[in-house]
């Protein structure tokens, strides 16, 4: 934590941490405590008076069937994004780990969606699935599927899941490939000598050995799906049709900035904060473990 040899105490270290601490206080800690404070207030319909109500905003939220639906929808959305994107990344990394020539070329070709902003990813997918022009609705029509995500809620959900998973494949692929390449070759060779085929080797040796990476990616993908996908939803569906793609982050934004329900939006913020804290704790506990061995 601290160097054995260090500089004597003076005013200098305070000056050095000052910029970071001032920004943290003004733009992070103060607004966050404001959000917590506001979540205990209810404003009357005209914005004239506010009343301190303890947990009433939270009670209202948890009795609101729409909020509970949003909660479950977010979990299903995140799970789908994580499974789809980690699954495809795992398969691709397993094959990339096998090829002798060209593994780096494949990596180069695979990683750049990481650099595409979520809202742009949304724009690309919404164009490909545009009901009148898009290439996919055109193909789907031949097998009798009528695609219109502006009207069909589950199709809209599928579209945002595809866009979100597509963008995240790059990241997952990179970490899976690095994990697989760090497995000692001798281990895999020993398994091969014992007669294990490629599939058997993958499931019995490689997959268990990279399970820390899988766990780490699960947390990262959950955080990504919960928070970073705002741009995708905002560009593709705006939470519609009929709220079928409204996830928690989108609802906070919508209730706060469009609906102007301050107390309710603040209460939702606080719930999100608790979720992030939980995910961060899980992530850091895991990292501590990894550092030990």
């Amino acid at each position: 934590m601290l160097k054995r040899v260090h500089f004597p105490t003076s005013v200098l270290p305070y000056l050095l941490v000052a910029p970071q601490i001032i920004i943290t206080l003004i733009f992070f800690i103060w607004p966050a405590s404001q959000a917590v404070y506001q979540s205990f207030l209810i404003e009357d319909a005209f914005g004239l008076s506010t009343e301190f109500v303890w947990f009433e905003n939270f009670e209202i939220l948890f009795e609101d069937s729409q909020y509970l639906e949003t909660f479950w929808r977010t979990i299903i959305f995140s799970a789908a994004v994580a499974v789809l994107s980690m699954g495809s990344a795992l398969i691709l990394a397993a094959f990339a780990d096998r090829v002798v020539r060209g593994a780096t070329t494949y990596r180069t070709l695979m990683i750049w969606p990481y650099a595409v902003a979520p809202v742009l990813a949304g724009a690309l997918w919404v164009f490909m699935f545009n009901p009148t022009l898009g290439i996919f609705p055109y193909i789907l029509e031949f097998i009798g599927i009528d695609w219109n995500h502006y009207l069909n809620g589950s199709q809209a959900m599928m579209l945002v899941i595809f866009a979100a998973a597509w963008k995240q494949i790059a990241y997952n692929f990179l970490f899976y490939l690095a994990a697989m390449q760090s497995i000692p070759r001798s281990l895999i060779e020993a398994a091969a000598i014992d007669g294990a085929g490629p599939v058997r080797r993958f499931w019995d040796h490689i997959f268990p050995l990279i399970s820390p990476t899988t766990f780490f990616l699960l947390v990262i993908n959950a955080v990504y799906a919960f928070f970073d996908t705002f741009g995708i939803i905002h560009a593709v569906t705006q939470g519609g049709p009929a709220n079928s793609t409204t996830i928690l982050v989108y609802k906070v934004f919508n209730d706060g900035f469009v609906g102007l329900d301050l107390g309710g939006s603040a209460a939702q913020s606080v719930i999100l904060m608790i979720l992030v804290i939980a995910m961060t704790v899980v992530q850091f506990r895991y990292v501590e473990r990894k550092v030990e061995y």
Binding site: W30, A35, R98, L109, F227, F257
Partner: protein
Amino acid sequence: MVENRRILGIVSHIVLILGVIMVALPIWITFVASTHDAVRMTQAPIPMLPGTHFFENFKQTLFGAGLSGSEGAPVWRMLLNSLAMALMIAFGKIAISLLSAFAIVYFKFPFRMGFFWMIFITLMLPVEVRILPTFEVVANLGMLNSYWGLSIPLIASATATFMFRQVFLTIPDEMLESARIDGAGPLRFFWDILIPLSRTNIAALFVILFIYGWNQYLWPLLITTDTDMTTIVMSIKQMLEAAEQSPQWNIIMMTALLAMIPPVFVVVGMQRLFVQGLTETDK
């Protein structure tokens, strides 16, 4: 390669090529759409092979009116805004994180751990969970519609501070001892020894933070109302809305292409630094 199975090798390449196609298809379609004229882009099925209007669209998008009928800023202006925001965020984060990591590792002072935990907490407060109050703070400070407002609230960084702390901890103590014997003060030591020694880490972090800054969406959406301050990433959403009235997909997709070229170029061009930055910051 453990054993030599020809068929498996071929299958591997086929799967990987399919994977590359899957990953690249949205971008290919974007590129193709940006090379046709507006009329062709209203006829289904849309083309899958590039047309001949690339430079025309490029010129119209970048220097012309862009999307006709829209009152937004010209695209070159939005690219400039994005570049300013991305660079300010990347340099700002690196600068203040280097300084605070230096203080935490090389000085013993009261409240040292308190500051450390305060920085750690920022990790748990992404902008999405404190949208309204942060907006109020920035509005009260009069920072709406300015580069300062776009960048400063985002430059506190726990991950960057932790990374530099990790780097500094690996630097041998003898460095400091000999620097002090030679009469170097703390700032001299920081500037002449620590910074040069963490050069590659700084570069790797810069790659990640540049992409992070360039791709910001929610924050600029909240605090810029002046069209002159819109960033290129934000403009896509407005164009998609406009597309419902007058579909000019060639221009929209050209804008999308321009918006993703800088970060994609950074990732592909500086791949080694990018991979290093990604694995270092997320640990």
